[in-house]
């Protein structure tokens, strides 16, 4: 389903990686590992079509993701490095907006349910600026509970800033999603307890040009 062909990424004057290939089918989980600055986020942004690779292409069901655009957006859930959480909006409003952008029309109850599910019960009406870093991360991740239909998840450091309990929760979500036959790509520098079918280690690939 998801296929990367001969990817090369250059940031500034540094080649982060080149000649990167992988193919991911439904029901498979890929972990991207590597040190800080090795290009994990860049790779994920290329996979999403946000970043233009210096060379090569990413294909989704055989088509280049740069030409698919919103068609790809309908099938993809991307949780980025930044939480995309607005300080001035409440937790519930933030989740509603992000789900609507993903093409869903969540009602109040489902949003509250999702916030409960991610461990934010009672915070629905609080403005996001009153939340802690970990809680904001949970607001961003609450979307995973609502957009379970998307066949591809791309998660950039989903466990960052989360406590042990929340990490377990998110890991369970990911496993369940993979079991449903979806593909998941995620980065993490913590040792993962998730059984990844593919692992890409970028540390070795990074080199100066």
């Amino acid at each position: 389903m998801l296929e990367a062909i001969d990817l090369e990424c250059v940031r500034g004057e540094r080649t982060l990686f080149s000649g990167l290939n992988f193919a991911l089918r439904g029901g498979e989980l890929m972990r991207v590992a590597g040190a800080n600055g090795s290009g994990k986020t860049s790779l994920l942004r290329i996979v999403c079509g946000l970043l233009f690779p210096e060379q090569g292409s990413v294909r989704w069901r055989g088509e280049n993701v740069r030409t698919l655009r919103e068609e790809y957006g309908k099938e993809l859930v991307y949780v980025g490095h930044s939480n995309a959480v607005k300080d001035d909006l409440t937790a519930a409003e933030n989740v509603t907006v992000s789900c609507t952008l993903s093409g869903m029309e969540p009602d109040r109850d489902r949003v509250h349910e999702a916030l409960h599910g991610i461990g934010l019960a009672g915070c629905e009406g609080l403005p996001a600026r009153a939340l802690s870093q970990g809680q904001r991360r949970r607001v961003a991740l609450a979307r995973l509970l609502l957009c379970g239909h998307a066949p591809l998840w791309v998660l950039d450091e989903p466990f960052a800033a989360l406590d042990a309990q929340a990490i377990e929760r998110v890991q369970a979500l990911i496993s369940a999603h993979v079991a449903r036959g979806a593909a998941v790509v995620y980065t993490s520098h913590q040792e993962a307890r998730l059984p990844a079918t593919h692992t890409i280690n970028l540390a070795g690939a990074a080199s100066d040009r």
């Binding site: 001969d6 500034g12 004057e13 233009f52 060379q55 292409s57 280049n64 740069r66 030409t67 040009r209």
Partner: protein, 249 residues
Amino acid sequence: MSQPSLVVGNVNWFKYASPQSFYPLAGAMIPWFAWAAAALCAAGLYVGFFVAPTDHQQGESYRIIFIHVPAAWMSMFLYLVMAFWAGVGLVFNTRLSHMMASALAPTGALFTFLALWTGSLWGKPTWGTWWVWDARLTSELILLFLYFGFMALKAAIDDPRRADRAGAVLALVGVVNIPIIYYSVEWWNTLHQGASVSLTRAPTMAATMLTGMLLMALAAWMYSIAASLHRVRSVILERERGADWLRAL
């Protein structure tokens, strides 16, 4: 933006319409254009100053048109060429066309400034004022701002690839706007001044005057090509510092 489209056998052929092969080619072409510019300029100045007769209305001051009109033509033409290369770069993702676009901008801005300067010096004896809000002068002024905007945007963005593509979008937006700006200003101008002044020459222009002007226009054209080729070579050297072929140079 879309991916480069000419991909055959997993090779992006546009990538090889490349700075690498263009660099020596440009180097070989520069002297030809430079000498052509010098020769045409000499011929144009000779015709302009020693063959063309005195204008019976404006006296000798009209001789400014030998640089004013070519400069004005080049300023608009270079913007179009710049936008063309920017558009090509945006569609096909070719580095070289973006480099061409950035190499053309300073020369275009130079000619725009010259058109304004000479227009103003011509306006003083002709209309008795340094500046009139004539449609052409005003559009020329705005064109200068557009050139400056393009260069400033490119200079402000650190990542060269992003700078190229952002500049290209701006150049294309500008090119759509230039005719709108021109006709708006012209309309505004006719409403306010009743078209009392116009930069267009009297229809009876001596053939030798026209010859001189065309020679100077050709000279300006050749000069622009030579200057932008020279600049694009510098841009290639700056941008492709890491490339193998340059290290072997």
